[in-house]
């Protein structure tokens, strides 16, 4: 065997375990999900082929549309907020500050905490009967907010807990980026008479473009997939006010066991993910070309 053939053989065998795992446990079930989305089935035994019925049903399903709107709203609220707060904290942390290391540790701590535990802390804080905010409002004589029975308030509580959980990660990525920006650029801008706000806007933010791009994609993908926090904190309620696509798919597939329909929701979610990230990708490329 030639050295070249040996190298190729080694390449295939070294890559094989990973490719096998991905093929069997990601690509195969993806194909499976697409096939199941054309069936009516409860998950046990053979399903019946129903063509595009599940998709037709989706279009007419008000809960599906509610879940779609909620997912979009969640994404639109969480992505910019997590990035802006993350950037703000990274800027503060990057400046001379006492106990920087300690503060950084505290801010990224939620990364180590599970979504379930985060959601339970959310329950502890937003519970209407004995939650921290309810008690605090009572003591301070502030008006009570119906965090659990009022739709928009429940939605807000989910967003707030998500930010609590996600901001540290955004900060960490920005912090890594900030440390790569050379001081000369800032000095040059300062000599040109730019104030600190202008320097932030025209020097720092453009320099952080790779990080921002990475975070936009990641936050969008994460938001489309949000599950633990909603599932545990609100269960999608009150009255579907916090139902998102994934919790709806879970309920449909594993509670009411309408798995064909659940698979169809998954396929739609995938399509939306691909379209949105694809568009974002193209916008990024175009911007790079014009610059």
């Amino acid at each position: 065997m030639t050295a070249r053939a040996r190298e190729a053989l080694a390449g295939y065998s070294f890559a094989a375990p990973t490719l096998l795992l991905l093929g069997v446990f990601v690509l195969l079930p993806l194909g499976g999900a697409m096939a199941i989305s054309l069936q009516e089935t409860n998950g046990f035994g053979e399903g019946t082929f129903v063509g595009l019925d599940n998709y037709r049903r989706l279009v007419q399903d008000p809960v599906f549309w509610r879940a779609t709107v909620n997912t979009a709203l969640y994404t639109v609220l969480v992505t910019p907020a997590a990035m802006a707060i993350g950037l703000g904290l990274a800027l503060l942390l990057n400046s001379a500050l006492p106990a920087r290391g300690l503060l950084r540790s505290v801010l990224i701590l939620p990364m180590a905490i599970s979504g379930v535990a985060t959601a339970l802390m959310g329950v502890l804080i937003f519970d209407e009967n004995s939650g921290f905010l309810t008690e605090a409002a009572r003591v301070l004589g502030l008006p009570q907010i119906d965090w659990q029975t009022h739709g928009p308030a429940a939605f807000a509580s989910v967003v707030i807990m998500t930010l609590w959980w996600r901001v540290g990660f955004n900060m960490l990525i920005y912090l890594a980026g900030l440390q790569g920006i050379s001081h000369e650029l800032h000095e040059a801008a300062r000599l040109d008479g730019a104030n600190s706000w202008q320097r932030l806007l025209h020097v720092t933010v453009p320099q952080l473009k790779p990080q921002s791009f990475f975070l936009v994609i990641l936050n969008i993908i994460y938001s489309f997939q949000v599950f633990d926090i909603v599932f545990v904190m609100t269960g999608g309620g009150p009255e579907r006010a916090t139902t998102v696509l994934v919790t709806y798919a879970y309920d449909t597939g594993f509670v009411t066991r309408d798995q064909g329909y659940a698979a169809a929701i998954g396929v739609v979610l995938l399509a939306v993910t691909l379209v949105v990230t694809g568009l974002r990708w193209r916008a990024e490329r175009r911007r790079e070309e014009t610059e």
Binding site: A10, A15, T18, V26, G43, S114, L120, S130, F132
Partner: protein
């Protein structure tokens, strides 16, 4: 900045306060920022009613086995994609990386069916294998291993070392920081994973901690003391490890091609 730190720490602190407060002081209402009397009653109640230690063991076993598999197979693949030439490697890498966009939630119905067909449903492997199928580590490993000088590998090859020997004697020892970061991230992710174990595990005795936590919340209902005591048990190990390990975790993160 201090405000941000307080906002981050407060829910954790509050969880601990509730976990160490007696049941009567919690149900009595009223507002206080620290427990009236610290008590271990909540912890006792949780340990008496649920197989907490078994769940802890399940979580640890599943997280360890999954992480070892991830590190091993991703490093092998990372080396192949970084330094070995074989036809189709570009396309294969692209296919592998594109699965990053594909969350388990999208395929959960298909995966459930597959795992059932393979006879794995309800077993540890039903959780381990799909979780170990992760392309993020391949990306990380390839980026890192690319920084190992080609000359080093060429020299070993001229000395007659096989590809496996090169991997074992040169790539692995040089990849220690990568292994540490990848292993730690996999542990963290697997330990905290919820949606898939919830679907894949059927018996109470095989639950992982997050799944058990939800189960317990359903049983105890509004018993916040017990729920938070258990949440604290779930969260504490990873928080401790994270605090100890976060210095090189942060370094590894910023070194590994994210910029």
């Amino acid at each position: 900045m201090l405000l941000a730190a307080v906002v981050i720490l407060f829910p954790l602190y509050w969880m601990a306060v509730v976990a160490f407060s007696s049941r009567s002081s919690l149900s009595g209402g009223g507002f206080r920022l620290w427990p009236e009397q610290t008590t271990l009653d909540n912890f006792r109640r949780v340990f008496d009613s649920f197989p907490v230690l078994t769940w802890f063991g399940n979580s640890l076993a599943i997280a360890l086995v999954t992480s070892v598999i991830i590190v091993l197979v991703n490093l092998l693949a990372g080396y192949a994609f970084a330094h070995l030439r074989f036809p189709g490697s570009g396309v294969l890498l692209l296919v592998a990386l594109s699965t990053l966009m594909l969350p388990v939630q999208v395929i959960m119905v298909g995966l459930f069916r597959l795992v059932t067909d393979l006879g794995l449903y309800g077993s540890y492997w039903a959780v381990i294998l799909p979780t170990a199928a992760s392309a993020f580590g391949v990306f990380l490993a390839r980026q890192f291993i690319l920084t190992i000088p080609r000359e080093l590998i060429e020299a070993a090859r001229i000395d007659g070392a096989s590809h496996l020997q090169i991997f074992w004697r040169i790539v692995l020892p040089l990849s220690r920081p990568l292994i540490a970061v990848l292993f730690f991230m996999s542990m963290l992710q697997t330990w905290n994973d919820f949606a898939w174990p919830l679907i894949a595990l059927r018996e109470n005795a095989l639950y992982t901690l997050p799944v058990g936590l939800l189960f317990l919340q359903g049983q105890f209902g509004p018993d916040f003391g017990a729920t938070m005591a258990f949440a604290l048990i779930t969260v504490a190990p990873m928080v401790l490890v994270f605090l100890l390990a976060q210095r090189w975790f942060v370094q590894g993160f910023s070194r590994s091609g994210l910029r």
